[in-house]
Symmetry: C2
Subunit: 347 residues, 2 copies
DNA sequence: CTGAAAGCGCTTACAG
DNA sequence: CTGAAAGCGCTTACAG
């Protein structure tokens, strides 16, 4: 079932059919109507593959993801897919095996004449050797949520340094004297920037983090790091998890250790994933402005600019109750109270 | 940069270039080598769009998802994408807005000459009017995790009736006298089948569920249903959550109510999502055999068969500690113990 | 094994 | 506004 079939049936030329299906196509209302009607009757649908070949525009954007252990990524992925659909673009989903060269993955995307690639570097190290010349094909590649030290690639991220500072501010107001940072993958910009901001702000108050172990952005690691700290006699009065999933692991470990949150220990995370709002956690955290970040990413891709480093979006404090004290006033204007529910008594 | 450019540069015909890039293509080792070398040098990559048009096979499979509130779906999605890549296929990701007709979504997929569509019906009612004639384009459509009452579409699901029975068996062995089912979306086959199996098995033991409220497969609903039950003076001694996310909500509500798990109340779920293994929950559940289900789905798509109802895969008990008693012996041969960790004392 | 050529289903100048 | 035709970048019989 092709445009030729429809043309024959409708008694018009094949070009007319094509024009009828192209918005802005120069056809009379009459022929357009005839064409659409017979197309409907025959169940005809224009072949997007053929159109792509003819127009030299595929309308396809690649979304490249690693493992999806961190719930932050599926949420972002889903929003991206919706935003692309709203713009009439299609999303090609590729999984990136961290064992393989990311260039291979990008090549299989490039074969589909993608207009851009968005990389969710769940397990990408900060400086994969090959990513540098990835744009050789001329297609813009955008890193989402992380950036490379060299800033040679476009990237959209949360302002993680400011977010780290904010976390420190919040914990300081709660009166911390013995704060700790539980890191994620130390090779990532998210880990590094959050730690840098956190440490800098603490230093201003004359404090140094008790410890800053690092390993991976995983729940298990949050648990393990917390247990090990206590096994070594280190008892922090505040924990900043490099992301929510780590902070949640820390909360579970603290519960197992019998340490009360937030009375004895404050905990703060980063991301604001769905799970952070669960009653068992009620995690105070720095929310990444996901929608704004996605809009920005898509805007940049529409209008390819010179790289120029990561595009930063401010994080926002979500107050829930895993940190002591209270915040009836704003901290630097960017603290907001989430929901109305107080922390459960049972905590 | 096309095959013509490479051909000119390598001093061969364009056909030769094409053959060099086609496995099984009849070319001498010498020319293939020449071609590959200059292709590499020029950064040439065959155009998959053009190939699709020429071969009439796109190699694209559509993955159609709704909202991703339930972590079960991202996990499945990610595994599907990997499995497809391993078979040399590409995944087109489409989000389905439940407000819109699913036919629209399928059409935009069909335009890309997809070879098959896999629908994750996160918020699809059991009988959307339009899904019946979806295969009009001749492309197989497969429902993953749910089936329609009419069974007019291919589907791959867990054996939810047997799973529901298994849940009942487990709770009966734990000595339940006042079991409850907290349902999900009552219009879905997953809800209906799990409830049917659960009720049937309880009936054999002379029991009827105290209640079976239903609403949606959401965490919030698990919390709310549990709180409302208790507000109405209904105090179950066992809860079967229609899926893990509901069961987790129930666990959080029970903790808030001060009811001890598993001493006073047993809780069992369905799916085995990552969160179920978190220390705050340690949820005993029926695991869906995701890998086997995905393999099966792909096998069916390779070899399109007459529909013939849902293809069922047996669920498997994962024992963690949210149910009283213990299972040193097998129940019907399909109960397995998960991990080595005992339920935490603190529960 | 190799090359010339038709064809996949569209879009889009080009004439009319 | 409309149609005939070239062209998008491949694959694959068809001859040689």
């Amino acid at each position: 079932m092709t445009s030729v079939d429809v043309a024959r049936e409708a008694g018009v030329s094949q070009s007319a059919v094509s024009r009828a299906f192209t918005r802005g196509g120069r056809v009379s209302a009459a022929t357009r109507h005839r064409v659409m009607e017979t197309a409907e009757r025959l169940g005809y649908l224009p072949n997007a593959i053929a159109r792509s070949l003819a127009t030299q525009r595929s309308g396809i954007v690649a979304l490249i993801v690693g493992e999806l252990h961190n719930p932050f990524y599926p949420q972002a992925l889903s929003q991206f897919a919706q935003a692309l659909a709203a713009r009439g673009k299609s999303a090609l989903l590729l999984t990136h095996d961290p064992e393989r060269d990311i260039q291979d993955t990008l090549n299989s995307a490039r074969a589909y004449q993608i207009e851009a690639a968005i990389v969710f570097p769940t397990r990408l190290n900060s400086a994969p050797p090959s990513l540098g010349d990835v744009s050789q094909g001329g297609i813009p590649v955008l890193l989402f949520n992380r950036h490379l030290p060299s800033d040679e690639l476009l990237s959209v991220t949360c302002d993680n340094v400011a977010g780290g500072r904010l976390a420190a501010t919040v914990l300081l107001r709660a009166g911390t004297r013995r704060p700790v940072f539980i890191g994620g993958d130390p090779e990532t910009s998210t880990h590094q920037d959050r730690l840098a901001g956190f440490t800098a702000r603490l230093a201003e108050a004359g404090l140094t983090p008790l410890a800053a172990p690092a390993s991976a952005f995983r729940y298990d690691w949050g648990v393990q790091a917390t247990l090990e700290m206590h096994a070594h006699g280190l008892e922090p009065d505040a924990i900043f998890g490099a992301n929510d999933i780590i902070a949640i692991g820390a909360l579970d470990a603290l519960r197992q250790l019998g340490r009360r949150v937030p009375q004895e220990v404050s905990v703060i995370g980063f991301d604001d994933i769905l799970e952070s709002d669960w009653l068992a956690y009620r995690l105070t955290t720095i929310r990444q402005p996901l929608s704004a970040m996605i809009e920005d990413a898509l805007r940049v891709l529409d209008d390819p600019q010179p790289s120029g480093g990561p595009r930063l979006h401010p994080g926002e404090l979500v107050w829930r109750g895993s940190v002591g004290g209270n915040f009836s006033g704003n901290v630097r204007g960017d603290i907001r109270h989430a929901g109305g529910a107080p922390a459960p008594e049972a905590r």
